[in-house]
Amino acid sequence: MNLHEYQAKQIFSQYGIPIPRGRVAANPAEAKQIAEELGGKVVVKSQVLVGGRGKAGGIRLAKSSQEAEELATLILGMEIKGLPVRKVLVDEAVSIEKEIYLGITNDRSSRKPVLMASAEGGVDIEEVAARTPEKIIKILIDPLLGLREYQSRDVAVSIDLPKPFWRSFISLAESLWRVYRETDATLVEINPLVITKDQRLLALDGKMSIDDNALFRHTDLAEKRDLDIEAPAEIEARKYGLSYIKLDGEIGCMVNGAGLAMATMDIIKLYGGSPANFLDIGGGAGADKVAAALRIILSDANVKAVLINIFGGITRCDEVARGILAAIGEVKPSVPMVVRLVGTNAEEGRRLLADAQMITAETLVEAAQKSVQVAQGGA
């Protein structure tokens, strides 16, 4: 789950990381009010969960509170990459001497957190990483020890940070580590971390992603989820603990397990069809979850056929069959459904579905071929 810049910076600030003075506004009048409090010269920043806000014109400098109001009106009426701007962050404008990159994320390869820093922070950091990887300093953190002071000091030296800033940089890195650790973040990033003309370190921007699996112990953060970036069906799916991603095709898929779900999408494509969605009902899904999954799939008007591919393990095929029957009774689907049940309690599942007039398949290839055929109008 991703947080907005203003939310991330509020958290940074609670952990002692210096951020610019500023507040979030939901309308132009509020933006004007905040700009007046900050002395007029401000940056008005759209709060949407996509990259490239600046290049899209969603971050603008205002020289007066009047101009801040005008820019807020403009930006609050924008859509950036399809997302409506509902809030703007109004921050004091600062004079920048230098831009640094600082972030902590999970390094899958080493299975440890990694702290990354670069003297060449700013919007082109990915280009810096691709072209001159030696300019990105990476320090692996032992999860049992945490970030050690010497590591932060090494980073400060490696990015040629002037010596007077070392102490505040080390303390800032320590704070960022604590944010990462204590919020179960998968990403905490300050880009840019600036040295201001008046010689302060300041986190000008902030990004945070939180591990969805850890939200049970961060209910305060879970409430901050921005639903704009998700399709309504995806929100509905999450309520039932389903993993659903809408795609552009016409064969709705219900599968247990992410790997098998992807393999099922792949084989539909291989046989000339196109998957309408990724949907993993997870392990051990009961009848109610299956019914919800089928309702969500059928809510997509593009769906011309449904392929249900269940290989029972921790999931029991009889439970799945009950869910299918419950959903059919409720939504009365008008599209053909191809069902393949194998594994735990498959026989009972097939017996339950025997009277439901569904197309059955023994193998994955057969299931894919039949669903492509019926989706294209064949019998």
Partner: protein
């Protein structure tokens, strides 16, 4: 024969009185697995599964009383890391964690700790292992595989069943099938399982089932080209998966855009591994 588990394995089930734990412990016993104990704090002293399996309050006591040497964990995600620590601290050398949804930072700490202790973890978010005809630890349906000389290692759960089942329909069997789990931080990566299969005299061929994300398949490809004498056939899921919505730059900097199905298939092909177009094509690739 096998890797990791066989008919002599003595299994303790953590979370044996839960919905999943009791169902799958029953299935393991029905398959012939030597399930010697269960653990549920607060239910020590009870006997479950038709009075066949004693329940203990802690793994430590279960190990002392029964000599269990393999643990399988079915406890909910929020308690799973603790269950793994408990098993490791009780002297269990091999732990299978079936639980899905464990926070990734929990797993990074677990992994660092287990590496220091020299304890092997398989999973989490995995189906466990099956040595056909001998034992199963976890949730792989026993009846979908027959004994044979093919080692199977997979990041996926149900996709693994698909492959075992396809093998069985062609009269082909597995030495051991091990699901290593799909989480970003797991206990046993592909290369560990590959080296176990390479060393197992009863495994003649190996199937590797991967999926998009991370770089474990690429590392496996490198390992295969350098160290494997046994032929390997692979399948990679996720060729049609849309690229994930990414935020911030750290992911791009650290992974550099790798992890696609095409990258992985290329790396495996370069290592001399034949990659199937779909799971049911694997048997014919093994024959040719």
């Amino acid at each position: 024969m096998s890797i990791l588990i066989n008919k002599h394995s003595r299994v303790v089930v953590q979370g044996i009185t839960g919905h999943e734990g009791s169902f799958h412990a029953q299935q393991m016993i029905a398959y012939g697995t030597n399930v010697v104990a269960g653990v549920t704090p607060g239910k020590g002293g009870e006997w479950v599964l038709d009075g066949k399996v004693p329940v203990f309050d802690s793994v430590k006591v279960a190990v002392e009383a029964t000599g269990a040497n393999v643990s399988v964990i079915f406890v909910p995600a929020r308690f799973a890391a603790d269950a793994i620590f408990e098993a490791a601290d009780s002297g269990v050398p091999l732990i299978f964690c079936i639980t899905e949804g464990i926070p990734v930072q929990d797993m990074m700490v677990v992994r660092a700790y287990l590496d220091q202790k020299g304890v092997r973890l398989v999973g989490p978010n995995c189906p466990g292992a099956l040595t056909p005809g001998e034992a199963k630890v976890g949730i792989i349906p026993g009846n979908i595989a027959i004994p044979g000389d093919i080692g199977v290692v997979s990041r996926s759960g149900t996709l693994t069943y698909e492959v075992l089942y396809a093998l069985k329909l062609h009269g082909m069997g597995a030495s051991t099938c091990v699901g290593i789990g799909g989480d970003p931080v797991n206990g046993t990566p592909f290369i560990d399982a590959l080296s176990l299969f390479e060393a197992d005299p009863y495994t003649e061929r190996v199937i590797l089932i991967g999926e998009i994300g991370g770089s474990d398949e690429e590392k496996a490809a490198e390992y295969i080209s350098r160290h494997m004498t046994k032929p390997v056939v692979a399948f990679i899921a996720g060729q049609t998966a849309p690229p994930g919505k990414r935020m911030g730059h750290a992911g791009a900097i650290i992974e550099g855009g790798s992890g696609t199905a095409a990258d992985k298939i290329q790396a495996l092909n370069n290592a001399g591994v034949r990659v199937a177009r779909h799971p049911e094509e694997i048997p014919s690739l093994l024959r040719s």
